[in-house]
Symmetry: C2
Subunit: 306 residues, 2 copies
């Protein structure tokens, strides 16, 4: 099975309004809720691709209960660890007059040292059973900034490959623990390396400890620097839509390709096609299966020989 | 006891943000939750004034559970009727850079005819025990537009005086059922009567069926047209702050004055002082007890002889 870790899970709430006008009262016409957080989104896509998937991280309070109830109706298995605090809500307010989205993100529960220790015990057991591990998203308050580095080391000691998808200082420290794969976007890569030149920055990120580094470059596709070579992968055409979750779908594509032992060009093609099919899906964070099947054969993967 | 009815109760959530910027991701720094809806707010103030108070209306789903749990820690008794749908959330986003608030209001649960019938049975029993009844706020989806007229008639048949504080078509129909008191604000009164001249509009509202009509005129205080006379009541000084809940505090002032058999000028003075003390309170919807005690003796009540 594939294990995804989401330390700061979220109940993702979407509000539709005719128009969002600041400093007034806005009537919400439609409310929907979904279990969220990056690793939960990755797990949903992996399950849709037919992979046995287990979700772990923290969940607590009424929003944690709501998240677990909604997760039980989806594909992944629930190995979330209870926490005394309350799982955060994220609210996406979609303004129907413009199509724009305003996001409000709660901070998340404060995790105590005892809760972190309890999570580590559970994580060690899950990692021993896993074919691959994905560590995704931000850290909740109270969790130490080197948490991902610690989780990378546990996974490396146990054996399965570990992918890291986070940002800022947790990424900087996590990459130094030598994860098998990191998947920064262009902004995260620039913050990490100080370079906005993708090829240079991706190679720099490898020197910092990432065995393979796959940078997601938005509509331009992906750039992968690996021990086997360096590739660019681009979608057959530019797609327009909602990019929410596109990066999580790319992670699912890379991980599924890894456990299926696909060569790098095929993993990248899958990641790029899933990502574009997520931008095209009518519901944020889902992927359009037909678009995925249509796009996959057209992804252009080019080896970079420099 | 005093019974307050809130058909569309709410879990009131307040978010603090450094600045709310539309079409971006906004980090919420502080989250607080409170049981809400206009009748719940009225009951909170009545309980703070020392009155035995019972809250009814509908509550359902996880947000309904959260509301009831928070209500249990406050003064009023809980006689809310369960509903299969989910109680709405309201979100007040306070932008700390400007102090402005952006409000997002969910629509509320769809109430079925069977749930409405169950509520009516419960309401009949509660009204028989009540010294006064307050009907407050908007109607949730599914409840018929003449609902307040129906609740006014039940109260009038049972005996206790009934106050109506709503707007639009539910007010128009409710007032025709001859409630003892209606408390529109200036906008609601203008929509009801077509007149922006408060004295004319207040008297017109009496002709439409309100035995007494007390119009809240914001910082200018209140105007009351009653069988005993017509009065204006004005606060001793203009107050600046958050007007959220000021109207609900005024309702609590009027109702408590009624059951204590105060003459109209004293009821109005109490309503105006409570309303101003709510504007001055640091937490939206609470009232500042010291400000209330300071303001009360200074409220100027003038009889209108025309």
């Amino acid at each position: 099975m594939i294990l995804t870790v989401t330390l700061n899970t979220a109940l993702d709430i979407t509000y539709r309004t005719a128009a969002l006008t600041p400093h007034t009262t806005n009537r919400v016409t439609e409310v929907s809720e979904r279990p969220g957080g990056k690793g939960v989104n990755v797990a949903r896509v992996l399950a849709a691709l037919g992979h046995e998937t287990v979700v772990t991280g923290f969940a607590g309070g009424r929003t944690g209960d709501a998240l677990r109830e909604l997760l039980a109706a989806e594909g992944p298995s629930d190995a979330l660890v209870p926490v005394a605090g309350t799982t955060r809500r994220t609210i996406a307010v979609v303004d129907e007059s413009t199509g724009n989205t305003t996001q409000l993100n709660e901070p998340g529960p404060v995790v105590t040292p005892a809760e972190w220790a309890g999570f580590l015990t559970s994580y060690r057991g899950l990692v021993a059973e896993a074919d691959a591990v994905a560590l995704c998203g931000s850290l909740p308050p109270g969790v130490h900034v080197g948490a991902y580095a610690e989780l990378v080391r546990v996974a490396r000691a146990a054996g399965p490959p570990v992918l890291l998808d986070t940002s800022g200082e947790p990424l900087r420290r996590g990459i130094a623990a030598r994860p098998d794969l990191v998947k920064p976007n262009a902004d995260e890569l620039a913050r990490l390396t100080g370079s906005r030149e993708p090829l240079r920055a991706t190679r720099d990120a490898r020197r910092r400890g990432g065995r393979s580094v796959v940078a997601s470059l938005g509509p331009a596709g992906m750039l992968a620097a690996t021990p086997d070579g360096t590739w660019r992968a681009a979608p057959p055409k530019a797609v327009r839509g909602n990019p929410t979750g596109a990066g999580d779908s790319a992670v699912a594509g890379l991980l599924s390709g890894y456990v299926e032992r696909l060569p790098w060009p095929e993993r990248l093609a899958r990641a790029v096609a899933l990502s574009a099919a997520t931008v095209l899906a009518p519901v944020a964070g889902e992927f359009d299966r037909r678009a995925y099947a249509d796009l996959l054969p057209g992804v252009v993967v080019t080896e970079q020989v420099t």
